[in-house]
Amino acid sequence: MVLSFVLPLAFFSIFATIFGRQHDSTPKVTLIVVDQDQSQASQALVKGLENESSLVVMTKPASEKKNAPTADYTAATAEAAVKAGDAPVALIIPAGFGQHPIAFGPGAGGSILQLLNDQSDMIAPQIVVGLLQKVAMTSMPSAMADEGMKYADEYVGGFTPAQKAKVDEGLEALRKLEADGKTGTGSGDAGNGSSDSGSSGSGANSTGAGIVAVNVRAVVGENKKSPMISFYAAAIGVMFLMFTASGSAGALLDEAESGTLERVLSTRVTMTKLLAGKLVFNTGLAFVQLVAMFLWGWAVFKLDFFSHLPGFAVMGLCTAFAVAAFGMLLASACQTRAQLGALSTLVILIMSSVGGSMFPRFLMPESMQKAGLLTINAWAIDGFTKVFWRDLPVMDLWPQVSVLLGVGVVLFVIARRVARRWEYA
């Protein structure tokens, strides 16, 4: 009972807690910033970075004692902090940045910012570099405009004094806006969700206030509170269903070893009837397990279960049937319980990793995604995703239902064939 119900619920809860509430808490990158320039431009850049919801900007170390002031990071201490693991990246804004903050193209003489990073985190520096480009454009528009005017002055053959006065006037107005904080930061208030990422956990639309205005509107899951909960309920559920099914089917081996199987086969019960009976029982057991998983998801993680009952019932029964037949085949193919345990662990873990029970298939390379289609896990997860995430009607489940039922029938037929070794001497 513990292995069939408690362990799957525990695993599901762990994954749901880790991955299920990403809409409320976007993963953030901790960034140490050292402003060696302290100019208006560098300060605008730092402020722009601080406003990015994907970043946690630290300009000074956390104080060990409450209310005790600490000194700002220096280049040396920032590097030490990255080495110590306090942050994956540190940005050093050099002195003189404000004089020439932006350049269009390499070799154009712009300041070079130093980004110190921990190589074990390959994502953080890429995020920071990307956001730096964005923040530079949105928090220092006057610097952008100034640099742009310099290029225009050079390539049009020089502004006239009147044109230059006009440009200076415009730049001055822009600088005033920057000083008043009225230029766009791009991401709005921190915690609203990044408009760039397009995440829509709360369902809110968001508008990017950058150079190119973007309106992000969620079209799937806009009303979903916990998008990954149903995924992991299905993903973890299918994996543990397979373990339970193979364990339950292993009763066949116990009976064969004890002699009870031979006795049963001397009655009116034929091998086909016996296996079919076990298949029905194991299908029921697997379905009950799935119900328990999803009810737990509803009770603890607010999964919208009851409005998806028809789809759940269809997918649940088909999945349960397929895994029950899978378990029967494994048991029939093995000689002992120990062999069954080893083989089932190996096969199920491989199928679960390739099929998306541990890691979403859409994050895998295409070749792996195709390989996943050879597993029961992939089809089951796809079906549950259609039901709970995409809110598709039951009729749209026909590919998943067909494959799962077909696989179940084929596996049972093979199991029956393999079980002939127990029928007669």
Partner: protein
């Protein structure tokens, strides 16, 4: 109209049964019959072919040639299965459920249900004297009770023919006696029984006829008295225990066509007058007589004589 079974009383018939496993001929042309109300003992050393023969009767083995019929039906057919009960040597019960649940399970395997099943369970519990233990989980029962439950599970459908494969292995004397009473009750009620055992006293007590099997063949068949008569005729058995060197005892026994078993020399003689010359020779060989017994040969003597092996080897 009387059926062929009623007319002849033949409940189980084996006719020229042959079964090979690769190069090994496990059963080699065995023929036997068992009548209703009769208990046939099947004796044989290990590897003689008893189990294969039993399993052929049950329908778990496909024979290479020959026929087995149970109540006139081909072994393995649904009718034959319903007429046959099998009590295997291994304890083939479900250890984690109660006695009642075990009997219920096997009853359902035989197609019993409803009131019929309830009645059958009640009868089995009474027959096996397990009424007080009916709600106890099987693995908590004593060895003897487990054996009785094992037997009851083979009787749940009230078969006309029952095969008992060494049902008293590892059982205490009290439980064994109870088992004997159960089997005698079945036999008296008209059930045909095939009983395999390694214990001579069980065969002598329970079996109306005995078939001795060795190397896949029936080498002797008949009542206890018939077997002894055919093997030894009117000869009697002399058992003598001596004090002296073992080698000298064995040499003396060999000179007179006897054998030594557990420090006791065994001979068969036609007349009592043959004893004196034996003892004279023993004295000359320096052997001191400690004990002397004269008796009629028994089943074990027959078995040893025909197979060259002990019944419990």
């Amino acid at each position: 109209m009387m059926t062929s079974v009623q007319k002849t009383g033949t409940a189980l018939k084996v006719d020229g049964l042959v079964k090979r496993f690769g190069d090994l001929t496990a059963v080699d042309g065995v023929s036997l019959t068992v009548r209703a109300g009769e208990c046939l003992g099947l004796l044989g050393p290990n590897g003689a072919g008893k189990s294969t023969l039993i399993r052929s009767m049950v329908g778990r083995v496909h024979q290479d040639s020959g026929h087995v019929t149970v109540m006139g039906k081909v072994a393995g057919s649904t009718e034959a299965r319903m007429a046959l009960g099998w009590v295997p040597q291994e304890l083939s019960i479900y250890p984690r459920i109660t006695c009642r649940e075990n009997l219920g399970s096997f009853g359902r395997y035989y197609g019993l249900k409803g009131q019929e099943l309830k009645s059958a369970i009640a009868w089995c519990l009474n027959w096996a004297a397990l009424e007080e233990k009916q709600d106890d989980v099987a693995k908590t029962l004593s060895g003897g009770m487990k054996r009785r439950l094992n037997m009851a599970a083979g009787m749940i459908h009230r078969p006309k023919v029952v095969l008992f494969d060494e049902p008293t292995v590892g059982v205490d004397p009290q439980s064994r006696n109870r088992i004997f009473e159960m089997i005698e009750a079945l036999r008296d009620a008209g059930t045909a029984i095939v009983y395999t055992t390694h214990y001579m006293e069980e065969a002598e007590r329970l079996c109306d006829r005995i078939a001795i099997i060795d190397h896949g063949k029936i080498i002797a068949e008949g009542t206890n008295e018939e077997l002894v008569e055919r093997t030894f005729g009117r000869r009697s058995q002399v058992l003598a225990r001596f004090a002296g060197e073992t080698a000298a005892i064995e040499a003396w026994a060999a000179r007179h066509g006897g054998r030594v078993k557990a420090e006791t020399a065994e001979f068969t003689i036609e007349q009592a007058g043959e004893i004196a010359p034996l003892l004279d020779d023993a004295t000359k060989a320096g052997l001191e007589l400690e004990d002397l017994t004269l008796r009629r040969p028994n089943l074990e003597s027959v078995f040893l004589h025909l197979t060259g092996r002990e019944l419990r080897d």
